[in-house]
Symmetry: C4
Subunit: 194 residues, 4 copies
C-alpha cells in the first residue's frame, strides 16, 4: 500500500517533470525550415534531459520492484530525489539557451550530481531496513555503475569551466552507458542512478 | 507489476501532453465574438492533436491489454514513443500559428510519422518476447491499418510542399479512419498506431 | 482492467485541467494588498471552474463505480467529455479577464453545456451495454437533476446577452445545487453532469 | 475503491501543484554565476513550498492509510483541501518576487492557514464516520502538533506586518518540526496538517 502510493506519486511527478520541459520549446516566429535551426540547442538539451528522466524512472521502477517495505525516512529520501529531479527543467532551459557557456553547463551537471546523490541516499535508506541477503541488497550489490556515474558528474562540473564540450560529452556518455547494455535490467535488478 | 507501472506512467505522460496543449489557446485580448475567429486555426490543430493523442492512448491501452510480459527493450521502446508524442504540443502550436505554411504542416506530419514508427517499434519489441500464437500476436495480425497510416504520413510530409491542404486532408483522414469503425476495438484487439 | 485504466486516465486529465488553471493567476506586479484586487474576477472564475471540475470528477467517479463493462464507444464518449472539460481553462481565463462582457460569459456557458451533453452521451453509451435493471440503470434513473442543469446552461447562454449577471447567477446556482444536498452520493448512486 | 480513487486523484493534483511551481523559476537572461543570484528568493520560496506540499502529501497518505470508509462529505472536504493547496504556486510566486514585502508573506501564511483548516476539516469529516476507538481516531489522538501549527500560521499572518522575517521564521520552523522527528510516521499513524 505505502510502497504503491510512493510509486504512484513518484511516477506522477516524474511524468510531469518530463512533459513540462516541452513547454520550453516555443514555436518559432517564422514558418520556414531555417526557423527551426535556432531551436536545435534547446531540442538537444530536451532530448538529453528526457533521456535522463526516463533512465531515472526506469531505475526507480526496478529499485522499488525489489523493495519489501518503506518507512518515513525512505519517503523523505524519495522526496529529496524528486526535488532535485524537479530542477532539471530549469537547468535544461538555461543550458538550452546558453549551450556554449560554462556556467549553465556546470549547473546542469551539479543538478545531475545532486540527483545521483539523492538516489544514492534513497538506496541507503532502503538498505537500512532490508536484510543484508534481501533481494534488494543482492540486486544493488557493489553498485559500480552508480558510483562511477556519480564520480563522472562530480568531474564534469569543474571540467565545464575548462571546456563545456568536455562536460557535455560526459553527460551524453553516462546516459548512453545507462541506456545501452544493462543486462541487470533483464534480471529485474534494482538499478542505480544514471 | 512492471506492466502496470509502465501503463500508469504512459497514461500520466499522455494525459499531461494532451492537457498542456490547451495552454497554447491563449484567451484573446478583446471580449467580442469576432475575437475568437483568429483562434480558429489553433483550435482546429488542438482538436486534431487531441484526437490523435486519444487514439494513441486508446491503442496503447488495447495493445498492453494483450501483453503478457515486458522487458527492458519494451520499456525503452515505450519511452521512445512517449518522446515523439511529447513533441506534438510543439508541432501543434507551430502549425496552429502558421496553418497556411508548408513547413509547419510537414513537420507536424514528420512527428506523426516518427510516432507511428516508434509505435511499430514497440509492437516489434513486444512480439519479440511473445509466442507466435500468443493473444498479442494474433491481435496484431498483419496490421494493415498500421502500415497504411504510416505510409500515409510518409506521403503527407513531401505533399505538404505541393499544397499544405493535401497533407492536412491526410492527417484528418487517417484520424477519421481510426475513429470511425474499428470493430477490432470491440474484440479487445491490440490496435496499431493511428 | 479496461474500466480501471479509463478511470486512471480520466483522473489524470481532470487533475491536470484543474491544476493548470492556477497558472492563469499571475502574481501581481506590486506587493500591496490593493494589488490583489484586480485579481478578484480571475480568482472568482477560478473558484467556479475548480468547483465544476471537482463536481465532474465526483460524478464521473460515482458513475464509473456502478459500471460493469465498457466498450470502444464508451471510451470515445469519455474522450469527448474530457475534450470539452479541457476547454474550461481557456473559457475560465477569458471570463476572468472580461468578467463584465457578454461573449466570454456566454462562451463559458456554451462549454459547460457541451460538457453536460458529452456527459449525457457517456451515460447513454454506458446504458446501451448495461441491462435495464442493472445497478447503473437504477442509479441513473430519470436523472432529473442532469436534465435540469443541462437546460439551465442552454438558457444561460442567450441570457448572457441580456445581462451577464443572469448567466453567472445560473452557473453559480447550478454548482451550488450539485454541491449541497445530494443524498444520491451517499447511496453511491451514479450521478449526472452538473 | 472509492478511497483508492480519492487517493489517486489527490496524488495527481498534489504532484502537479508541486511540479508546476518550477515553471516559475525562469532561466536568467545571462549565463554567468552572478545571474543566478536574483533567483535565490524564488528558489528559497520554491524549496519551502515544495517541502510543505511534500509534508501534506506524506500526512495525507498516512491519514488515508488508517481510513476505513469515505462518504460524500469526505470527498468534498478533500476537494477543499486540494483547492487551498492549489493556491500555493500563486503565493509562492508572489512571495518569491517580493520576499521582503509584508503582504505577500502574510498572504502566503494565510493560504497555509486555510490549508491547515481544510485538513482539519477533512479529519473531522473522517472522524464523523469512524468509531471513537477506530484506528483512525486513535492515530489522530489529541493532535497537538496539528493544533500548534495551525495556531502558528494564525500568528504569523499579522506578525508579517511587524516584520516579515518573523513570519518566514515561523513557516520554516513549522516545516522543520514536521520534517525532523515525527516518530508517529514510523508507527503508521495518521498525521495532521503541517
Amino acid at each position: 500500500m505505502t510502497r504503491g502510493r510512493m510509486e504512484a506519486f513518484s511516477d506522477g511527478v516524474i511524468a510531469i517533470i518530463l512533459t513540462i520541459m516541452v513547454l520550453e520549446l516555443r514555436p518559432p516566429e517564422g514558418s520556414g525550415l531555417a526557423d527551426l535551426r535556432p531551436l536545435l540547442p534547446k531540442l538537444s538539451s530536451y532530448v538529453l534531459s528526457f533521456t535522463y528522466l526516463a533512465i531515472y524512472w526506469n531505475n526507480h521502477h526496478h529499485l522499488l520492484h525489489a523493495v519489501e517495505r518503506v518507512d518515513g525516512k525512505v519517503l523523505w529520501a524519495n522526496v529529496a530525489l524528486l526535488f532535485w529531479l524537479s530542477l532539471i527543467p530549469f537547468t535544461t532551459a538555461w543550458m538550452g539557451e546558453h549551450g556554449a557557456a560554462a556556467v549553465p553547463v556546470a549547473v546542469y551537471g551539479a543538478v545531475l550530481l545532486a540527483s545521483a546523490l539523492a538516489y544514492f541516499g534513497l538506496t541507503r535508506a532502503l538498505l537500512g531496513i532490508h536484510a543484508p541477503r534481501s533481494r534488494l541488497a543482492l540486486a544493488l550489490g557493489a553498485d559500480r555503475k552508480g558510483r562511477w556515474s556519480t564520480a563522472a558528474y562530480a568531474a564534469a562540473v569543474p571540467l565545464a569551466f575548462v571546456h563545456q564540450a568536455i562536460a557535455l560529452a560526459i553527460y551524453v556518455g553516462v546516459a548512453v552507458v545507462w541506456l545501452v547494455p544493462d543486462s541487470r535490467f533483464e534480471r529485474g535488478a534494482a538499478a542505480e542512478p544514471p
